[in-house]
Symmetry: C2
Subunit: 227 residues, 2 copies
DNA sequence: CCTAAAATGTAGCGCTGTTATGTAACACTG
DNA sequence: CAGTGTTACATAACAGCGCTACATTTTAGG
């Protein structure tokens, strides 16, 4: 007997909100603004998402999906250290491309009183799966010293996440700009995990060549976009 | 001829605001709330700080001062790698102790429309001075591979900052909790900079013993606090 | 003491998320 | 096909926010 909600409206609201966040930043995210762009009233946000927090949560899920999409693009080769380098580049590329989404996901930024739940955070941790698998292969091949792959993956996460957040915060300026720091950091991370300077450098350089081909240039099996 | 502002009022407002931020988080920071606690009107915030952003900026400066205070507590010994470990622990300790301030400083969190200026960020970069000096000594002693000390210091910064932000965001759970990750990360960082597994482990363990004595337990030359 | 200028209090504007209320539209039942 | 119950949506309002115009008070200097 109940009246059904317009299914298009829900996706339209998410799309509009995500675009507003990406284009104009967190301040542009307001119920009235979103409703105006969607041609409805502010109530739509409450019927479909229970409030602004629910809508933000949907956008955060979208952000996790985009990150996961980039991470799964890197191919597995016989040089897992290079694979790891590409993974790091993919992670950073996603953060820079979807900077506002990234800040909402990991930056601790609170948008309209939104706070992450434990389930939301699990989405973030799940992203490490590819990294853990890759680290395992590095250890198996003897490139990395025997250790807990999950722990090593966390180290990589910390380093890249830390660089990216400071880069987004405009903390990195010449001569220690983000690009320069990132390349040397990748090498240092591999060495810290057990690789040698020579082999690590070679693999990181190789990952730089693979990056545009596998990540930026071709969206090979494009995840169905919402728009 | 002009009437002078109450000098006590200015410091009182900063104290109250800093306490509100520390105790109840960013949402509690409002002109009306602060004015009510101070027993004045909201106008006081504008005469003394030109708005909420100005007040937040003062709190951020206080946060930088506290960080710098912790960093200058670590002593220079004949084991600069251990010194570096203590520096990392001091940095993390400050972030956990003043978590809301830290988020405002480096987390990219915007409080009441406050945004950092280039001068503010320079305060943050200045914190690295101690680290750069320490890395230089590590290189001179041959513990670290020859490299740009500023670059290596940035790597350390990224890793510890990344761990701390994810820790504050409740992203780190067992078995990869923050404490476990931090200890192994310190060792990996030293190795990545050129140290050996054996010597790095020994120095990091030594830094763990020094940490309470130099950082937490005694505030040796207490910076004059505002309260 | 008197006056000019700055500090402060009051009231209000435009904005926010959210909610109460009324209305319209749909799905199901008879 | 009519009736009805349930829900979606629109409108208006409330409390809160940062901020400002204005009136008032207070103080320093001539």
């Amino acid at each position: 007997m109940p009246r059904k909600a317009d299914p298009n409206a829900r996706l339209a609201l998410i799309d509009i909100a995500a675009r507003l966040l990406a284009d104009e930043g967190p301040e542009a995210l307001s119920t009235r603004r979103i409703a105006a762009e969607a041609g409805t009233s502010t109530m739509a946000v409450y019927t479909h998402f229970g409030g602004m927090s629910g809508l933000v949560r949907e956008i955060v899920y979208e952000g996790f999906a985009r990150l996961q999409d980039f991470m799964t693009r890197v191919k597995q080769t016989d040089d897992p250290v290079a694979d790891l380098g590409v993974l790091g580049r993919a992670y950073r590329h996603n953060a820079l491309t979807n900077s506002h989404l990234y800040a909402a996901m990991f930056g601790g930024e609170k948008l309209s009183g939104f706070e992450l739940t434990e389930e939301d955070r699990q989405h973030g941790r799940y992203t490490l799966t590819n990294v853990v698998e890759c680290v395992t292969r590095c250890i198996t091949l003897g490139r990395f010293r025997p250790a807990d792959p999950g722990l090593v993956a966390h180290h990589m996460w910390f380093a890249v996440h830390g660089l990216v957040t400071l880069e987004l915060g405009d903390y990195l300026i010449d001569p220690w700009n983000a690009d320069a720091c990132f390349e040397t950091q990748l090498v240092a991370l591999m060495i810290g995990a057990g690789d040698t300077l020579k082999t690590a450098t070679r693999s990181v350089v190789a990952s730089a060549k693979r990056f545009p081909r596998e990540i930026t240039d071709p969206p090979p099996n494009g995840r169905p976009t919402r728009s």
